[in-house]
């Protein structure tokens, strides 16, 4: 049986534009993966009457209602009260949840006194199943009433995402009569529109599995989703599609079900017992930041130098003054010396460098978007020249990805230039 879900976000801060409803996007993606239709998103403020009106409308057009927000201690548990009322239920005190809230405060916020209103969060609709929140204080909950499954989740994106992954997806999977499996191929080095136009006919022709392309900050994704009666059957439906895409896109595909390029690089370094160092000019620390976003980075990442001035390029990373004078900071030659300098100064096995014009103005007579990325290992060094558009953020992001991709290519034996 096919389900229809409606998302209701509760929060005046959404209506004032202080925050964006990213929860809706995240939950929609998850539901789409599960084959559950979403026909409407609604956002309503911290106002009981209007929230109740939104719920009454949603009840008529969906058999799954997922709410986000309005569970915290400062909003008088608006969402739970409204939903309980709308489905004719009482709120009752849930001792186990109260205990979890108390111990959350003791463990994570020892310097803050827990005020009594925090225990309001343990008031839950009678007969509901509690969805434990291991990532914050407000528990979620779910119940079925009038043929509608109601799921209430906390609003803060970090908590909401974890709750969807660990509580909601397992719950909704168990409601489905089949198994839905998906596999995401990750690509770097191809534009989204190029990828889409190559796949357009294929995508239209496919029913099960389906194929969906996504673009994410300079990287591309291809998600294959199959529905079948068993996990094995679904997986075996994904295989031929993956194979075909691998033939089509070859080494542009850097991984499957992996969050991003830095994770791929980090895994390769770990597997091969190597370390990385970075020398960054135009990217200003972004490559180092991305590598250290990953917990446990210190095993593979030695460190980096952000050489925003020529002085630092020379004095810290040992780029020769003649090179800077003759070719400029944005050059193949400087990129090569920076990559070598990273290895030498930071004591890493592999060094990468990024130097370019991030804009908004041209520099050294060189155009905005021109970037050189270098990679050094032992005595060898390679440099890739690229043109990365016009927008400062995008140029910096693409430069970092280009450098990471050089590491991936080097460590997997692909040509780097």
């Amino acid at each position: 049986m096919s389900h229809t879900a409606e998302l209701i976000a509760v929060g005046t801060e959404l209506l004032l534009g202080n925050i964006c409803n990213t929860d809706a996007q995240m939950i929609s993606q998850a539901l789409s993966q599960l084959g559950i239709n979403v026909f409407y998103h609604t956002v309503v403020g911290d106002n009981p009457e209007r929230a109740k009106a939104a719920v009454e409308i949603a009840k008529k057009r969906a058999d799954i209602i997922i709410t986000t927000g309005g569970l915290g201690p400062t909003c008088d548990d608006l969402t739970k009260q409204v939903l309980a009322e709308s489905f004719g239920k009482q709120l009752v005190f849930h001792e186990e949840s109260a205990q979890r809230i108390r111990s959350y405060f003791e463990t994570y916020l020892p310097h803050r006194t827990m005020t009594e209103n925090n225990l309001q969060q343990a008031m839950l609709p009678e007969g509901c199943t509690v969805l434990d929140n291991d990532w914050g204080t407000a528990p979620g909950c779910t119940f079925v009433s009038d043929g509608v499954r109601v799921i209430m989740l906390p609003g803060p994106p970090r908590e909401c995402r974890a709750m969807v992954e660990h509580r909601v997806i397992p719950l909704l999977k168990s409601l489905s009569d089949g198994v839905i499996c998906s596999r995401t191929l990750k690509l770097f080095g191809i534009g989204e529109s190029n990828m889409e136009s190559q796949l357009h006919e294929q995508m239209l022709a496919m029913q099960n599995p389906t194929l969906a392309p996504y673009a994410k900050e300079g990287e591309c994704e291809l998600r294959i989703t199959a529905k079948a009666s068993t996990e094995e059957e679904a997986q075996s439906m994904l295989d031929p599609v993956e194979q075909q895409l691998r033939q089509q896109f070859g080494d542009l595909i850097y991984g499957v079900d992996i969050p991003n390029l830095e994770t791929c690089v980090s895994q390769l370094l770990r597997e091969q017992g190597l370390t990385l160092g970075t020398a960054e000019s135009c990217t200003g620390g972004l490559a180092a930041k991305r590598m250290t976003d990953l917990p446990g980075a210190s095993q593979v990442f030695k460190g980096g130098v952000v050489c925003y001035t020529n002085e630092v390029k020379h004095s810290v990373l040992g780029v020769r003054q003649e090179t800077l004078d003759q070719y400029g900071a944005v050059s193949r030659e400087t990129a090569a010396e920076l990559a070598r300098g990273a290895c030498r100064v930071l004591g890493s096995d592999v060094g990468i460098s990024m130097t370019g014009v991030a804009g908004p103005d041209p520099d050294e007579g060189k155009p905005v978007g021109l970037v050189y990325c270098g990679i050094a290992r032992g005595d060898q060094v390679w440099v890739k020249e690229t043109r990365l558009g016009q927008a400062r953020d995008r140029i910096r992001n693409s430069a970092v990805l280009t450098a990471f991709d050089l590491v991936r290519r080097l460590l997997t034996g692909l040509p780097v230039e």
Copy 2:
């Protein structure tokens, strides 16, 4: 007279979670600035029946309906058809808009042939006012019917933002009988809930000007908004509120109408002709990245060293081995030597350092969230010890802000410890 607006976004890609409804946030901010209430956002797919149902509901609860999306040539002008139908209007061919579409193609997309369906975009509701789109092909439009003002805008965020700024805000301002001005005070060093609880009574009591608190990634904002008949009058209403908040929050306020703390730091350095260098352990390059997010950073930012290993702390930044052995990398002593090392190695006037445990696991027997931030200038060095919660991203972000705030405090003569 006070208006109530409702936003309806049309697009299946929103319901699938392929994109986020950032248009709604942007428009909500604009409306909030104009003093127009927004009670609901709705998102609906490319389905005429469901879109029409959403419009029928919105008509009953708002006197301004703003739609985004569904105007392009590939979606059969869904939005215009639905709105025209819902308000009993015909779509008629608008020759001037057709001409604009033709010339847009000639100017911006000379390599693409304009297909006939592009001219579908020139079919507009009879009697509407066209909102010319100088940023894309689909024109927007507006009309008033049944006491409701309808405004239709293209969905792509870049186009939508420009249309709101240049077409919608002037239109809605002309409907308003006064002028709305706002001023945003930026704070660092106080939690959102603490700020809110201090202001709660005040905010409730205020009608005009109003006061709204916001929290943004570790920083806080207080926005004062006044409505008056002239700009001068509105500004003079903001002054006493600003003054009172300055008395209340003192040096926690670091600026007015300034985007973030790094901009404040950058301005202070520029004014005083000073340069900054960074030494980052747990923050892994984030401070350098944030400083270089600002165009023209090279005037005040020399560079940084990401010393993710003790080896790099010692060899590149000159932290003494004894210090590392005796106190550990996460210590007051190491933070001090790192900040001095940044000045010395990078040749900067001011050096800042961040070293701590970003998690997820404790390190050196020290708890997750413990961070030391150092600042050095000449022979002087100060270190601040802080506890910054549990989540890796938040710890890193707060550590960077804490270090930036040390610079602000030092350069404005405030106590740094």
